[in-house]
């Protein structure tokens, strides 16, 4: 094992210092407790893209659920016991004619309740500016070539809605159960920058 230099002094960055100062003040003034902050952090870590994958797999296997999901994403998530507070969820469906992709050009709005903490690239200036400007080039960099005949719909989540892409169910998955299907649904396929895994892919 490589020896790690744990003893070296690392000065706090401006924002780290601001976070620590604010947190200590809030605790000192009795507005929140350390335990509440720790619980919130744990809760946030517990949200993973597996939640979104469950929603997608249910929609793939249950046509009436899919209809409800596209009609009102927030309510349909509640049906699965997924609480999405303060989140007006809009689910957009990929079809052979339409490919959807999500971005937030103003900041980094993301359906955290269903996908967890966003990847760094989602928050990067490059993704946020280029995804609306040249989506086909950006998708190609993710390894996704969208044919000219397929319409690209980019959703810029600038205000109160949050978006989730419902990818197309991969071929060769006939008769598969929800759990097996959910394992094919990746985070990136629900952002719209890639497709679900191929059914032949080893886990």
């Amino acid at each position: 094992m490589a020896k790690r230099d744990l003893g070296k002094y690392q000065p706090l960055s401006y924002f780290q210092l601001m976070e620590a100062s604010l947190r200590e003040l809030l605790v000192e003034k009795g507005i929140v407790t350390e335990a509440q902050i720790a619980a919130e952090v744990e809760d946030m870590r517990g949200r993973t893209p597996e939640r979104g994958a469950r929603v997608v797999a249910r929609a793939w296997t249950d046509a009436s659920y899919k209809e409800r999901l596209l009609e009102n994403g927030t309510k349909a998530c509640e049906e699965l016991g997924l609480d999405v507070p303060a989140l007006k969820l809009v689910v957009v469906e990929n079809t052979p004619q339409v490919h959807n992709a999500i971005v937030c050009t103003l900041c980094s709005c993301y359906p955290r309740m269903l996908l967890g903490i966003p990847p760094d690239w989602y928050k990067s200036r490059s993704y946020r500016s280029r995804m609306v400007r040249e989506p086909r080039a950006v998708l190609a960099e993710f390894g996704l070539q969208v044919p000219e005949g397929v319409q690209i719909r980019v959703h810029d989540s600038t205000a109160d809605m949050r978006y989730l892409v419902l990818p197309m169910r991969p071929e060769g998955t006939r008769g598969w159960g929800e759990e097996r299907l959910a394992a094919l649904v990746t985070r990136d396929s629900m952002i719209g920058v890639s497709l679900p895994k191929h059914p032949g892919t080893r886990p």
Binding site: V90, V132, P135, Q151, R153, A159, D160, M161
Partner: protein, 95 residues
């Protein structure tokens, strides 16, 4: 809540306005013309919320669909490609 002025399918134009302060109307879409995809509901005005006011009455919020080829004159991609953006009613006028 302010009553909605537009319905799905209406042609609208985003105001070409550059006020100071916190805005949720992206710069690149101001002055562009699109079509109302849906009414999302009504939400407190974020520009007011940012000034520590209550943002009420709530502003209707729409998802508006724009043709990429009209947003970016040099857009390289299919003519059918679109971008959909949430815009508050006070930024929209009939086109």
């Amino acid at each position: 809540m302010i009553p909605p002025r537009f319905k799905t399918g209406d042609r609208v134009r985003v105001m070409k306005s550059y006020p100071p302060g916190h805005l949720r109307t992206p710069y690149y879409i101001r002055g562009c013309e699109g079509e109302v995809e849906r009414l999302c509901g009504a939400f407190p005005n974020p520009e007011e919320l940012a000034q520590m006011r209550d943002g009420l009455p709530a502003q209707p919020l729409y998802r508006v669909r724009f043709r990429q080829s009209e947003v970016w004159p040099d857009y390289r991609g299919a003519a059918a490609d679109v971008v959909e953006i949430e815009i508050y009613q006070h930024w929209l006028e009939p086109a």
